[in-house]
Symmetry: D2
Subunit: 367 residues, 4 copies
């Protein structure tokens, strides 16, 4: 019976793999059990964020040595999702997801499944081809996780590509038209297309509503369980599904809610309540210690308001809007959990309503 | 019997006085009743933040017209405390404090008193002279507010000066040595000296512990009710004391607590509880509507940690540390209140413990 | 016979009008002679640059007092063009343009003429209506300057509007569609439309090539003498034409060239040569003292290259691209002139070729 | 007879080693000939610049494979000096320095020599111990380069360490006091101490003038040929000396001058003239093609002025001062050379006068 293990490891800098090494050295996890690593790295989370490839390089090198593979082979086998931006009080860290065979168990427990799409052509990024390929990959990942009921799926993380000048020119040379010529905008379209694909797979969105023109435009179409992060280092989507599946064992469970806006503290409390936590205010330390991970999406609302009051996120030419949004949601989530090593990522196109986003909590059940 | 009125006015840009005009036009407040205006403006809150003087210029012009005074005369009469920085989800707004004679009342109610020091010489900024002058001004402001018991004082806002190259050179020409040659650092020392003066006046700090060398250095010496903001537009300290005084009337009360770190949600809940609010999570909208203002200080902890986990605020060469801190505390406070028009200011030297700061709430009592 | 006077005044901060006051107090210029003030202010030059309105407010107040007008009346009479962004070594300053009747003179001398369009509807900004209105305004400004030959026109500065959320919504309420919903993008379209209008007026562009779709897209269509700056504080275009006109007197002349890219030092030397300066390297101090103003447009090339080598300006999520471009061109121009009080502004859509821009020099002729 | 080869390689991103690979694959340089790699990477050049370690990791991995060494062994053998910050128009690139035995030659030619100090204790950084160790290392590097006359030394690049919280605490645990507790400030003190050591070795500075207190304070003490870059990845100084030495062969020569301020174009022209280039303006393309490298230091003047006019570099809380300075000097140098792949680095403490810095040019002689 499989068990999904989750280890939260602080990092002292983006290339810090000592925490991962210690887990392996101590026998806490075997390197071949690792299926994915999510990382919050301390770059700007936007176009020129080089902490992401630095972390990937360090992780691939570390795991390659341990697995007797080349770094590229590691990248093909383990989903490495680095999300940049630890603004406000957010603490850089890694979440290491592993799968281990263990004793049989009753009921449901945290389950993980991964699947990769084929590489996309540049002109497919931010378009329906990416939506459909993601939908299919989610189905494969669910199957790998033994998740048959979409209601048991609580969080789907996707790492997706973006467009660069080189890729745009390559497409143009073949007579193909890309969705946008703006690298930063391509990140949003890629994330959005990925999220819509997740929404299709989880029966949250009706496919007949979708075509290229809605991607990035129809903010009313969204998945409440999608989290997408764009990066330059791949041309395919890597999908990691998390849920509570029958047949999986271990003390971990996952719950989720949808933050309706950036200050929706109640949504976080709702996810905590689903996991049996008290919800009178901030978790006391002993309860917070049972929270293994919190994952949330953050974005500035397009109308410039939060509950009727003006925010400046979209008008700040000195600090990118997603940086402000992560800092805000990081503060709200830290208020609930009493910790700052939270996986808050930016760019929530079609991931929750405009200005809001999904939030999931993974915790160890008591007893 | 005096009554302290507080009006919270959203601003659409730093020079927006239409909300203030509307209050006056409608007869809600008479211009000569206004004793102070606190503003959160959308600049960077650091050295080159020009939203502060822009707001001051607009407010002085608007009130001058209404009062039949020159703008300079307005500035000499009304304390205008502009605090820059509305990072994360914080919403730019003004808090207009007014004093009106009203009917007699029992018990205690929100009271306000102001006092100004004389202008400081540059070499006095960030030094014991500023500490002692502030201590004396707090006493005068308390007297103006009818506050005799320091326990009834809940928040003391100070607007204080900073050093510029010109001021440093002027002092040097007289053979005087200033506390620092760094404008940004002078803001911190000026705030710190002001806070220590408040701590002396409120019997929170023992004067025998103080000399020039502790200013900015001994983070264990602090006031739990001080809030200081530095600006270039004055050479004196302007002190505004808020508390609950016998003899004052009206529905407003103020409470305060000290946030022990940037994510101390419980402290905010404590101040709310002191004012009779339920503290199960985020205030419901009808309760939040009774909160007239929240004022808090934010700063990054010097040791680079929040409850043992690393933050990046002090190592970010792209975004100033106080900007991160305001965004974080803004999120935590919004989580409690359910609103974003919160007066969160940065630079909490000797204002609360290192990494934390005072938080005060002003609310209308029910019934 | 009219004479165009130009005074370059350093500013110590955006609201510093002491230099302007001193010119007036000393009788060097009479307030009613002032036709325009160009200012380089030290904000970010992008959306949330509040140094521009701060400078406008200070200048309107100062001139209002001197002219016995209201500040709004000053704004209607004197073109106040504040351009934000003094990156790299650029020095904040004002250029005060005045017109005075003087003795008759032979030949040509620096001439200035201004004209304003009517207010634009939001849906006209960045569209052909703005192009055509600007074309007509340039013709009126040329007439006011006594410039009959387009070859004598060397620099046309336009201050143009931008779209805000409020303006976009107002248009939508009337069923009108604006050119973009992105405030930052609207600045570029507004500048571009204004520049194309200048190009039409100066016979640099064939009108049959123009329609809404080329604005911001056809970088091969441009004026070599246009400089546009967008701001929130107006809804019309204000046009200031500078040239050498017959019938004008005084020692000042203007010349211009087009920088083909951001490092086109030779173009600046060409403009200097047209004014009789030696062009062996940096101007020696006595020659530099005769240069009254240098005005240039800067922008990052869209292809990410400068003479085949990659630049990072368009990919930097920490520092806006136009800020990098101003710093670069500021360095190149300072290399030529040996001074840093140079009017380098960003956003050169249809102002010179992509990555380049017009550069004009105003200098006093010897003898 | 040794020959110093210099290859300038554009990089498409910080981890791009394809250009280096191509040089090796084509046989243009053998991996064991490489003695140093200088890189301009596109980070912020300040504390949280992770492009530097990313580039080092990529280079170490690439050279390790080629040399049959471990990456750490590569770092111990080849000096890898990554300098962050390519602001304005600066183009990211690598300068690969190699030494090859070749035919005998007359006269002097470009020569390179390297030397490393021992690791420093944290308390030695920014202190006289670092000064003296650097002085000795310069002497050893000169000897390795066959440079016996200090007048033949034209540029000394040093990579030096900085203090981190961990290093400061380690020293404190031994009862040792470090020079500063501020990481950013430690970079400046480390660079400054290194530069003073170079000045001693080159007989530019009188050792009797030096003690710990002058480091970072006496801006009148400086070397005109020092360039220091601080990084977190080492605890020793790595010194690379470049000069024209008898006995070396090949077409390359180096010259240097000292920029008296950030716009000292004449200094760059002087270095070009020393190498036989025409100095009438910008180098024409065929001449520019013979320039293999330009290396310069940039910093903001401490008095806030450039030739009497105010700059904003030290007062900009949004953009670090060294970023502005690099953009400025990059523009001035590009004006001279007509290229943007220039090695302009920030932080010129004791490297040239305050606000200025050394500039060196390496070029291939004609014929």
């Amino acid at each position: 019976m499989p068990e999904c293990l989750v280890f939260r490891v602080p990092t002292r800098h983006p290339a810090d793999v000592l925490g991962l090494d210690a887990l392996i050295e101590s026998g806490t996890v075997a390197p071949d059990e690792i299926v994915a690593v999510f990382g919050k790295t301390e770059g700007n989370g936007c176009v020129n964020d080089f902490t992401r490839p630095l972390a990937v390089m360090a992780l691939e090198n570390a795991l390659a040595a341990r697995l007797g593979l080349s770094p590229a082979e590691v990248g093909a086998r383990v989903a490495l999702v680095m999300s940049g931006g630890t603004e406000g009080g957010l603490s850089p860290h890694l979440l290491i997801l592993a799968r281990r065979e263990g004793p049989a168990a009753e009921g449901r427990a945290l389950a993980v499944g991964t699947a990769f799409t084929d590489d996309f052509l540049p002109e497919e990024i931010g378009r329906m081809a990416q939506v459909r390929a993601t939908e299919a990959a989610v189905a494969r990942a669910m199957a790998a996780a033994g998740l048959t009921d979409v209601a048991d799926v609580h969080f789907v993380q996707v790492k997706c590509p973006l467009l660069t000048s080189a890729r745009i020119q390559e497409a143009a040379a073949r007579g193909a038209r890309v969705a946008t010529h703006d690298t930063y905008a391509s990140m949003g379209l890629s994330r959005g297309a990925s999220a819509l694909g997740i929404g299709l797979a989880l029966a949250e969105i009706d496919g007949s509503a979708l075509d290229d023109t809605v991607i990035g435009a129809r903010t009313d179409l969204y998945s409440g369980r999608a989290s997408a992060s764009a990066g330059i280092e791949l041309m395919r989507n890597e999908v990691i599904v998390l849920g509570n599946a029958p047949g999986w064992s271990g003390p971990l469970r996952i719950a989720h809610r949808v933050m309706r806006d950036g200050i929706d503290f109640s949504a976080i409390q709702g996810a905590l309540a689903d996991l049996g936590f008290p919800v009178a205010g901030q978790l006391p330390p002993e309860a917070a210690a049972r929270v293994v991970a919190l994952l949330a999406k953050a974005e500035p609302s397009g109308n410039g308001l939060i509950r009727g009051r003006r925010h400046i996120m979209n008008d700040d030419s000195d600090i990118n809007a997603t940086r402000h949004a992560r800092a805000l949601v990081g503060g709200v989530a830290a208020a609930a959990i009493g910790r700052t090593d939270l996986f808050v990522s930016g760019g929530a196109e079609h991931q929750g309503p405009d200005g809001g986003g999904p939030v999931a909590v993974i915790a160890a059940m008591e007893g």
